[in-house]
């Protein structure tokens, strides 16, 4: 089936996943349109991180369907590498490669995975460093950068692959309050440029301001979802209300 931009970029239907006896995803359905920012919120252990990892096939699902640009992820014949070239991911713990400089971290995947010309990639990588306001830190090793700086390098590293969508997995959860802002600013700029983002976050204010659509998940199911204005002001479900009252 050919994918057209009118169809959801990511289309999840009834996705189920268990780890042993632990049901992590219990029939989740989510649509993400191109250029849309979708925030997924919910208590810890609700399966949010697993959900993201299913989208780029880091975690295989038990049943259901995930389509990314029309390509079925839950297909044994799937070219996982092709999928991952298209789906970027940014992690809570940054996961930069500590033995390579910031610039090298950004250049590695385009050079080795996309087999692109090194000089050309380097120009782009330097531009990306400027974009995340880290020009001058090109030759710093991850260990020499603060958490916020590392996370911005990680975002640049993901951008260097020019993915169709970027998944953000609680990217500010390991940061101290002052540096959270600099990372959120970077994500906001991406969103404004039309990058499709799926963001798992606990930053409610951020989600409210930035998201086109918010999903509230708990115990492996989507409890409620909607545009932020509607979602935050008159949520219908008791569990959602309880969660929001604890957080806001």
């Amino acid at each position: 089936m050919a994918w057209t931009p009118e169809l959801p970029l990511i289309r999840m239907r009834d996705v189920r996943k268990t780890f042993g006896a632990n049901i992590v995803l219990d029939g989740i359905s989510i649509d993400v349109m191109k250029g849309e920012v979708v925030c997924i919120i919910g208590p810890s252990g609700a399966g949010k991180s697993t959900l993201l990892r299913c989208i780029n096939a880091l975690v295989p699902i038990d049943s259901g369907s995930i389509r990314v640009e029309g390509q079925e992820v839950n297909d044994p014949k799937l070219d996982k590498l092709a999928l991952r070239r298209n789906v970027g991911m940014v992690f809570q713990q940054y996961n930069l490669f500590p033995h390579r400089t910031a610039l090298a971290n950004i250049m590695m995947a385009p050079v080795h995975v996309l087999k692109r010309d090194r000089a050309e990639v380097e120009i782009e990588a330097r531009a990306l460093m400027r974009k995340v306001r880290l020009d001058g830190k090109e030759d710093a090793y991850p260990g020499e950068l603060s958490g916020g700086q590392q996370q911005r390098v990680a975002i640049a590293r993901s951008l260097a692959m020019q993915p169709a969508v970027i998944l953000f997995d609680e990217v500010t959860a390991a940061l101290d309050p002052e540096t959270v802002k600099e990372v959120l600013v970077t994500i906001r700029e991406l969103a404004d440029e039309g990058m499709t983002c799926v963001i798992v976050t606990h930053e409610m204010g951020f989600a409210r301001e930035l998201a086109d659509h918010i999903y509230f998940t708990d115990r492996g199911v989507v409890v409620e979802h909607g545009p932020p204005a509607e979602f935050f002001t008159n949520c219908r479900d008791e569990r959602t209300r309880q969660f929001l009252s604890q957080i806001l």
Partner: protein, 309 residues
Amino acid sequence: MKSAQIPTSPRKRGEVRAAATCGGGATRGKGGGQRIFAVLKPFRLQSAAHELPRSLFTARSGIVLIFVLLLSVGFGEAQAGPGTPSIVATILKWTPLLAQGFALNIAMSFLAMAIGTVLGLMLGLGLIALTRPVRATAWLITQFFRNAPWLVLLFYCILLMPFEVSIGGATIPLPAWAKSTAGLALPVMANVAELVRGAVQSIPAGQWEAAESLAFTRLQMLRLVILPQCVKRMTPPWMNLYAIVVVGTPLASIVGVNEAMTLTGDVLSSEGRTELLVPMYLYLLTWFFIYCYPIARATVALERRFQVP
């Protein structure tokens, strides 16, 4: 409420452990006023230097060794009958020959280490292979060569390997020292394989995840992300292994290789003086010590430097 600091001296550490096992006691401290209770703090590793068994190659054992050597020379001189050349002179006379033998020890250790490391890296990659049969085979080989006594492996190599091999038209002789080197390389291989496996497993899962999400193939992940980080972690234990191999090379004397140990025996039998026995072997031991001590020092220094803060 006062919380007890974790004391650094080993004697006090025991007390804290004992107090900590009492469990609930920690919370009752509030009413006690002056009583100090141990608070269970997150487990912290003591510095590696304290936890690991100390190496034999320390400055202190070096001083002891040289002291004992001098002492034995002194005793030897006292025992020597009138008219015989002094112990020191005899030792010096044979030093060039012993140096020749020692050079062979070093050459064997180098070769065994080089061959063992190359094979061990491949075997180590087998240990972390995704396919089960490969992993199982690699595991069997590793376990066998890691646990077999070195001397047994040495004998196998001496007895099972031919004295010459012909590749194409050329005939390459395999002298005893070459076969012994092969025998030493086998346990090195198995130990290096374990080092590789351990180092790879010590890399945080996030590194794999990040590399995977960037669409690296498994080979690229290993080559670009995982193994470069392993090199740092593997270097200190690898150097340690080398020091062990060096002191293992005299095993080759049993199968008649003309290395330092064999030559020392030859020297003693040709001199035929019992008072030479102890000083001569201590002299040889000193050679090994002098060679291995810097390696041990460098290993400790590297371990400290690579320690994650």
